[in-house]
């Protein structure tokens, strides 16, 4: 009995050891599916290595826990920009050599091909996603909202609003809605007066707000008619509008966008393969492929050389991407430096404000 146990245990652990699968951890849902189809499966097919995708509701705390416990089972993780910086600061991530990333097809080095800020010490951008607001076109006869200010204008557009229950992106949106130019938002938020001003703007609609927490909620709130307009992640609204034919329209004015990053946790079991995977996934073609599955924009200029078409074969992606020139009119890039410094402080203030 004992011998059988030892033997099977040894065999099982041998089985695990021999199996050099690269494990990628992402957010699940439509997003995880896009990365599975665009990166995980093609890479496995092209290189002959195994690769599997695992889901998490937020990979950042998960990999931090793994590294701290000294039991890392994930090789590549998809994390928010601020987390890629924060976890890198905390020594949880492996540095990634930017020079090793593949050049664009025309020979432009990766460091110039990527948009500014899309490569950090420990992370490489997979896409740019955005906090936008959207409305149900059937709920408006005549004039429709077009600007960030309209979101806060209850007289012109009465009805409930959906807003994310958190300080990040909401405070910026409030200032943009108050007429602050995008370039001045973070300088203003760095002062007590700026924070007060953002909260004052939110106060003006507080009684009519339905707060959401999970990304799946805002399309649902719109579909149920609980709100006439709501902030949301642009990909979720795109999915509802294109895949499910919902009459939702995005207002890009006042969008707050940021990079999503691939990172490698320190002590990843297959570090070299993980780096190879990232080089493949963040190549010009890898980023293009992901944008064919979900409406988040590639962070490489060369990925836009030819028009990107959605997987349904007819929807041209460009107008649905946060980085399309016509959508960038009044847009703000999230400042990771600001939020790494002020996340805790402003979230406490936000929670206190909510419960007043």
């Amino acid at each position: 009995m004992k011998k059988t146990l030892i033997l099977t245990t040894a065999l099982v652990s041998f089985g695990f050891a021999a199996n050099a699968d690269v494990t990628v951890m992402s957010w699940g849902g439509a997003y995880g599916e896009a990365q599975t189809e665009a990166h995980v499966k093609p890479w496995a097919a092209a290189t002959g290595n195994g690769a599997i995708m695992v889901d998490s509701d937020n990979p950042a705390p998960a990999i931090k826990a793994m590294v701290e416990a000294g039991n890392v089972t994930v090789d590549v993780a998809s994390v928010e920009y601020a987390d890629a910086i924060r976890l890198c600061d905390e020594g949880v991530l492996e540095p990634i050599d930017a020079a090793s990333l593949p050049a664009a097809p025309d020979g432009t080095p990766a460091t110039e091909d990527f948009l500014a800020g899309a490569i950090t010490e420990c992370g490489v951008s997979t896409d740019i996603w955005s906090n936008v607001y959207a409305f149900d076109t059937t709920k408006f006869t005549g004039e429709v909202p077009t600007t960030a200010a309209d979101f806060f204008n209850l007289e012109k557009f009465p009805g409930k609003r959906g807003l994310k229950k958190g300080a990040k992106a909401v405070l910026e949106f409030a200032l943009l809605g108050d007429g602050v130019p995008a370039a001045e938002v973070y300088a203003l938020l760095d002062t007590p007066e700026g924070v007060d001003r953002a909260f004052a703007k939110l106060d003006s609609i507080k009684a009519d707000v339905v707060w959401w927490e999970a990304g799946a909620q805002p399309p649902q709130l719109l579909a149920d008619g609980e709100v006439v307009m709501t902030t949301a992640y642009n990909g979720r609204i795109f999915a509802a509008a294109i895949n499910e034919n919902k009459p939702f329209q995005i207002v890009w004015d006042g969008q707050v966008y940021e990079n999503e990053m691939y990172v490698v946790p320190k002590g990843a079991p297959n570090k070299d393969l993980a780096m190879e995977f990232i080089r493949y996934a963040t190549s010009t073609e890898g980023l293009r492929a992901q944008a064919q599955h979900i409406s988040y924009g590639p962070a490489r200029k060369s990925s836009f050389a030819e028009p990107i078409v959605f997987k349904d074969g007819k929807t041209v992606m460009a107008p649905h991407l946060p980085t399309a020139p016509e959508n960038l009119g009044n847009a703000l890039e999230t400042s990771a430096d600001f939020w790494v410094d002020h996340d805790a402080e402003l979230n406490e203030r936000f929670q206190a404000w909510l419960s007043q």
Partner: protein
């Protein structure tokens, strides 16, 4: 009157019986212990070790202490310096540490640690470390010229506190205190949140426990007294939701109670409320209480049922035949016998409600957040020490309640089934 000692009993092979019995029993005990050993190990590894580790994090953090040796040494040598006006040597030690942090790439760790009490420190440290190697004496002027924030007394107080690996800082923050230029003080009114949320969590959990008890008591009584066929059907109706996923039940309540939901549609259809006057029953405290009551109801019904099932009906009949009214019978005879069930159910529901996370997050709206949501928020923001401190305070509060409960009702009267 000497007592005659009884003859020594022995086994067939002549050993004293007592000794043989002890040997046999200790062998049985050892075997029994070996049987529960896997469970003990499991509890130790998956329960006690993580909780201990978490508690340790709430008062231990070496992010700054490990990466700034010169500062730690200087603070130790000069415990009485004035944070409002630190001398040149302090700045020299700081510049030396910053330069070293840049070389060993742990600026982020040190900055993160200071940032917990002094917001804005991460970028300050990063900027300082980048420039440190090029700075020339006097360091005080050089560093302040780089960024005036280096002269802030609050920053120096934060660094003194962080130079010690062990700190009560996270507990101070979790009790709504804030580091200022003069030291730790009561936080700004518009940033105080933790104590309020503790209070609210316990209040809402209390309300939910009470509502659960009021709803569950008649159900459990019916379950215990109805004929078998009917009570099995009722039991299935209690258990079916219990077996359904928590998320499904929560979202069903959203579909029912939201402004465009079924309940409001029916009210409008019946003319009870006007189209514009639809009731707000979701995304607020009402939604939280209704949904959590429903989710937790079986935890009250089942202990009550198991206790009521074994109360002999003859007691109540005896009381009635001796002339008691039905109210007196209930109050003096039936209710006291159900107390162990009430106690067990209430304790179970209350403790589960205090730690609830996903339901308040989904249906709570603006004022529905509970303390567990703040723990989750701090985990997300990668401030695990603060999350651990809040969790530890919650744990202590529950243990105190448990102790009170034991003193008032007695834990041995608890009956779960």
């Amino acid at each position: 009157m000497a007592e005659a000692s009884p003859p020594l009993l022995t086994t067939a092979d002549g050993r004293p019986l007592k000794e043989a019995l002890a040997t046999a029993q200790s062998r049985a005990k050892r075997r029994a212990f070996l049987l529960v050993l896997p469970l003990l190990l499991f509890v130790f590894l998956t329960f006690l070790v993580p909780i201990g580790y978490m508690l340790k994090r709430s008062f231990e953090h070496d992010g700054f202490a490990a990466s700034a040796p010169a500062m730690v040494a200087w603070f130790e040598a000069n415990p009485d310096f004035d944070p409002a006006n630190p001398p040149e040597e302090a700045f020299a030690a700081l510049v030396q540490d910053l330069a070293q942090m840049q070389a060993t790439k742990n600026t982020g760790m040190a900055g993160t640690r200071i940032n917990y009490s002094v917001p804005g420190s991460i970028s300050l440290f990063k900027k300082g470390a980048r420039e440190a190697a090029g700075l020339t004496p006097p360091y005080k002027e050089a560093l302040i010229a780089l960024d005036p924030d280096w002269a802030k007394p609050m920053l120096w107080r934060g660094m003194v506190s962080a130079a010690d690996v062990y700190t009560a800082e996270f507990y101070l923050v979790a009790s709504d205190r804030q580091l200022t230029d003069e030291g730790w003080a009561r936080g700004e009114d518009n940033e105080r949140i933790y104590l309020y949320l503790f209070f609210k969590t316990f209040l809402i959990s209390g309300i939910i426990t009470l509502v659960c008890l009021l709803l569950a008591f008649p159900i459990a009584h019916l379950l215990a007294t109805l004929p078998m066929a009917k009570s099995s059907l009722l039991m299935i109706m209690v258990l079916l939701p219990f077996w359904t996923s928590l998320l499904v039940r929560t979202t069903s309540w959203i579909a029912l109670l939201q402004e465009q939901g079924m309940v409001n549609d029916i009210f409008v259809g019946l003319g009870l409320v006007s189209e514009d006057g639809r009731l707000t029953m979701m995304y607020n405290m009402t939604g939280t209480v209704v949904t959590m009551t429903h989710v937790l109801l079986p935890f009250m019904v089942l202990p009550l049922y198991s206790v009521m099932k074994v109360i002999p009906p003859s007691y109540a009949r005896a009381a009635r035949s001796l002339g008691a009214t039905s109210w007196t019978t209930f109050r003096r005879v039936y209710l006291p016998q159900t107390l162990p069930g009430i106690a067990a159910g209430s304790l179970l529901v209350f403790i589960l409600a205090v730690g609830y996370y996903i339901t308040p997050a989904l249906v709570g709206g603006a004022d529905g957040a509970l303390i567990s949501n703040m723990i989750a928020a701090n985990m997300r923001n990668s401030n695990w020490s603060l999350a651990a401190a809040v969790a530890a305070m919650l744990l202590v509060a529950i243990l105190v309640l448990y102790w009170l409960y034991d003193r008032l009702i007695g834990i041995d009267r608890l009956k779960l089934g």
